[in-house]
């Protein structure tokens, strides 16, 4: 915790220097480029678009650096905020589908949160989650992604999405409740459906063959 605070103070010094000399901003660029690039690429799934958007994020950050106010979060939170807005703007102006990138590990974590759905087997979790995620709107999705897939604290989620911390907590709780309800209504996909169809076709074929 102490080292984190020291890091934040050192970072703040760099930011203050960068406000006077923009060339110093290069240190922040080097530190956070990869993180922001990956964050954007997870949402657009296109390397060249992600690089364009990442450049715009850093350009905006540099241009508006004099307005930056330290609020106890790492500088990356401010970059995430700009990146989120930039990605939203990109999808408003394009017809491309918004991408959700998830790892199995996060699926398990989310299902641990949906306590009632413990009965869902691990193999069935991912297809069920895909169906559930498609029912969420953009803002709900952003909260879910930042909280569960990016593992951000509520305070940081609130800062990135420009809402209060309480609001972020309430919204997350509501999303979890919504997902629970939807999971109750949605039956997990039947894996043996295809086998039953094949078996029926086989039997029908056999009957026809016998008749002939």
């Amino acid at each position: 915790m102490g080292s984190q605070r020291r890091d934040l103070q050192e970072e703040l010094k760099i930011i203050n220097q960068a406000k006077k000399d923009p060339e110093v901003f290069g240190i922040l660029y080097e530190t956070y480029y990869k993180e922001i690039f990956i964050y954007i690429n997870k949402r657009v799934d296109n390397l060249s678009v992600a690089s364009d958007l990442a450049s715009q994020v850093f350009l905006k950050a540099l241009t508006h650096l004099p307005n930056y106010e330290f609020k106890g979060f790492p500088f990356s939170s401010w970059l995430y905020k700009i990146a989120t807005n930039q990605v939203n703007q990109y999808f408003r102006n394009s017809k491309n589908k918004r991408v959700i990138s998830i790892q199995d590990f996060y699926v398990n974590r989310l299902f641990a949160e949906l306590e009632d759905r413990n009965d869902v087997r691990q193999k069935e979790q991912t297809p069920l989650l895909v169906r559930l995620l498609n029912q969420l709107n953009e803002q709900e999705l952003q909260i879910l992604e930042l909280r569960f897939f990016e593992e951000k604290a509520f305070k940081e989620v609130a800062y990135i999405l420009d809402i209060t911390e309480n609001n972020a907590k309430v919204k997350t709780y509501r999303i979890i409740e919504k997902l629970k309800k939807m999971a109750e209504n949605l039956e997990p996909p039947q894996h043996n459906d295809i086998f039953s169809v094949v078996a029926t076709l086989f039997l029908l074929g056999k009957c026809l063959f016998n008749m002939l």
Partner: protein
């Protein structure tokens, strides 16, 4: 994993781009150039205009109002002149 019904494209366990791929796109000089172009453009604005930035719309509005008052007065004066000054009578010569 993508269906036609799906609102979102969902990628599961897709590998993150490598450091090498990401570094190909990293270019701080380009960001600096764009920044200089942007801020340089602002410096091109004359200082006088920058200082007068707030008052310029008010000034333009005042000029428009003055011009309108001037035109209105001019038209009004012309009208008044037309009403007060009697038009000269044209006498037709009587033929003998």
């Amino acid at each position: 994993m993508e269906n036609e019904e799906n609102k979102y494209q969902i990628n599961i366990n897709k590998p993150v781009p490598s450091d090498q791929e990401i570094n190909q796109f990293k270019n701080f000089n380009r960001v600096m150039q764009q920044y200089k172009r942007r801020t340089g453009h602002r410096k091109m604005q004359p200082n006088f205009l920058q200082r007068m930035n707030r008052y310029i719309p008010v000034l333009i509005l005042a000029i428009i109002v003055l011009i309108m008052v001037f035109i209105f007065r001019l038209v009004n004066e012309k009208k008044n002149n037309g009403q007060t000054a009697p038009s000269p009578k044209i006498e037709t010569p009587v033929q003998e």
